[in-house]
């Protein structure tokens, strides 16, 4: 049966994610031991581990969000099992290629692979850079097919304006857009856009790689593309998690199902704009970047917190405050996960203030803000999703 197949592949996704998470954590611990002087790694080993750790962590939480969204989407529209499998296969192959380029090839240009560093690494093998770019290409193709497929399935049932829930901005809408569909659509637009930017970025990398010195990229353009892709995919990973929360939190807490209201519709439509423009906050210390874009970066980063706090987080508060709930591991993990996002988000808003960024940019403040988001938020979400009622990993995996 379709739902059993979907349950099984989602379980495979979760197990894959948790396995890769453990490997990444080990690399993280090794890095910290090295920085603390307890073990001694060569710089190349340290930095190639750093590259592996960073990219694997971001990748696994992204695919975990996608897998969870794919699973829940089946409640509303038919999803393609074949595409789900393709995405899994491409992800595993891509990760293995990435790990080969770093562990064996000693590629060590960091998870940001900031142009032109991948081309100017001493100490890496000559094939490592090409294999690294190829690994990102494989991952990107798999994820692009997956996100386009999911969006296509949504659009087969809902019109474009319904996916944006515009009918909810008027009184008494005839068709209801579930919050899950609204958020997933908004998020998938961001995902597809940033993956397309990654296609352009990779094409420019390949063009220079194969040009024998006849084509040199513009460092500012490459930086903008890199951070548009990188920031947006990390941000969207979070919002995939929020789609799951909107769908499941009320269910696992015994509360009435959340519905799309005019302010939910408005908040998420604005969120799309803010998400696509916040990435400029990665270029604050590039003073040649047009000033207007720097200001857009700070304003978009600030404003993105408004719908997040005023709609999403406040809705969680309303659902819980002075309300008798049968607290279990599942709904407690959701609740604590949201708290983790909020705390990481506070650090993010502080860092996205340009005058603060002068002393915070590229310091430990940065992983300090995203670790609560990934470790606390997404990890709890994935554990939650696996143990909670819809998937119940313990029952599915024999």
């Amino acid at each position: 049966m379709e739902s059993t197949k979907l349950k099984k592949i989602t379980s495979v996704w979760i197990i894959t994610v948790l396995t890769l998470f453990i490997v990444s954590i080990v690399l993280g611990i090794l890095m910290r031991l090295n920085q603390g002087g307890i073990i001694q790694q060569s710089p190349i080993t340290f930095y190639s581990n750093m590259t592996t750790h960073g990219l694997t962590m971001i990748g696994i939480w992204f695919v975990a969000g996608m897998a969870a969204v794919n699973y829940l989407m089946q409640r509303y529209v038919k999803t393609s099992f074949a595409v789900n499998v393709i995405a899994l296969v491409f992800t595993v192959i891509g990760v293995l290629m990435l790990w080969t380029s770093t562990f064996i090839g000693k590629f060590h240009a960091a998870w940001t692979f900031l142009y032109p560093l991948p081309f100017k690494e001493t100490g890496a093998t000559t094939w490592a850079t090409l294999l690294f770019l190829a690994s990102l290409t494989v991952l990107g193709i798999g994820w692009l097919i997956w996100s386009i497929s999911l969006m296509t399935q949504i659009l087969k049932k809902y019109s474009i304006s319904q996916t944006f829930a515009w009918q909810h901005l008027k009184k008494n809408p005839r068709v209801e857009t579930p919050p899950f569909i609204l958020i997933t659509m908004i998020t998938l637009i961001g995902v597809i856009t940033c993956l397309l930017a990654a296609v352009v970025l990779l094409a420019l990398f390949y063009a220079e790689y194969f040009s024998n010195g006849n084509f040199i990229n513009d460092a500012l353009l490459m930086k903008n593309l890199t951070y548009f892709f990188g920031h947006t995919i990390a941000n969207e990973m979070l919002y995939l998690g929020l789609a799951v929360i909107y769908e499941l939190f009320s269910e696992v807490s015994g509360r009435p199902k959340w519905k799309t209201t005019w302010y939910v519709a408005l908040a998420w439509n604005f969120t799309l704009v803010f998400i696509l423009t916040a990435f400029f906050h990665h270029l604050y210390m590039d003073f040649v970047q047009p000033e207007g874009l720097q200001i857009v970066g700070q304003l978009a980063s600030y404003l993105a917190s408004l719908p997040a706090a005023g709609v999403t987080v406040f809705s969680v508060f309303i659902a819980v405050y002075r309300t008798k709930i049968k607290w279990s591991l599942t709904n407690l993990l959701f609740f604590i996960g949201v708290a983790g996002w909020v705390i990481g988000g506070l650090g993010a808003v502080i860092d996205s203030t340009i005058s603060n960024n002068v002393v915070l940019h590229n310091t430990l403040w940065v992983p300090a803000h995203f670790t609560p988001i990934t470790l606390w938020g997404m990890c709890y979400l994935v554990l939650d999703f696996s143990t909670g009622s819809p998937l119940n990993l313990r029952k599915t995996v024999k």
């Binding site: 560093l117 000033e291 720097q294 406040f314 405050y321 502080i350």
Partner: protein, 184 residues
């Protein structure tokens, strides 16, 4: 110092957030079946969002004019230092640096309480030109990018030795990439 005020701000608001989440959780644990939940949720949501918007507006208005792009923008620098970064050194010079034959000066000296402009570029990959005071506290920075010159303006209020550390990962010897200058 700026880092301390930022840390205090973060601890304060994170503390408030943690308190609010705990308070709400405890209110649920204490609730009976007949508990009414939150009264006037839409009104409270509106005020919460409005207050947040006003706070963000105040921070944006107060901080954006202090962005490095605007500081000392209308003044003429008393000293200009040219900086070319490359794997794995900073080349500093009072004269423009020829990228084909880059060379610099040791023992750069800069005036205290006067406007200094660093014109920073890179000869290979992105580096981070980050200045630290004698307590090794980061006081300012700018990116060193290939093909571009970023201009960093600063007034040093204290005399002494200042260190430059690379603050953009640039390859295997990134952590050894440093330089220094004196402010008198």
């Amino acid at each position: 110092m700026q880092q301390q005020s930022i840390l205090l701000l973060f601890l304060a608001i994170a503390g408030i957030a943690a308190f609010v989440f705990t308070y709400i959780f405890v209110s649920s644990k204490k609730a009976t079946q007949a508990a009414q939940g939150m009264s006037n949720p839409l009104k409270k949501r509106f005020w919460f969002s409005l207050i947040l918007f006003v706070i963000l507006g105040i921070f944006a208005t107060a901080t954006i004019p202090n962005s490095p792009y605007y500081l000392f923008a209308n003044e003429t620098p008393a000293k200009v230092v040219h900086v070319s970064a490359r794997q794995f050194e900073f080349i500093l010079s009072k004269k423009a640096i020829d990228p084909k034959n880059p060379s610099g000066e040791d023992n750069i000296e800069l005036p205290v309480n006067k406007l200094v402009e660093f014109r920073v570029t890179s000869l290979d990959v992105n580096h981070g030109f980050a200045i630290y005071n004698s307590s090794l506290r980061l006081i300012t920075q700018v990116q060193a990018m290939p093909g571009y010159v970023n201009r960093l303006r600063y007034k040093f209020k204290e005399p002494g030795k200042y260190d430059i550390l690379c603050l953009e990962y640039c390859g295997m010897a990134h952590s050894f990439m440093r330089s220094s200058f004196i402010v008198k």
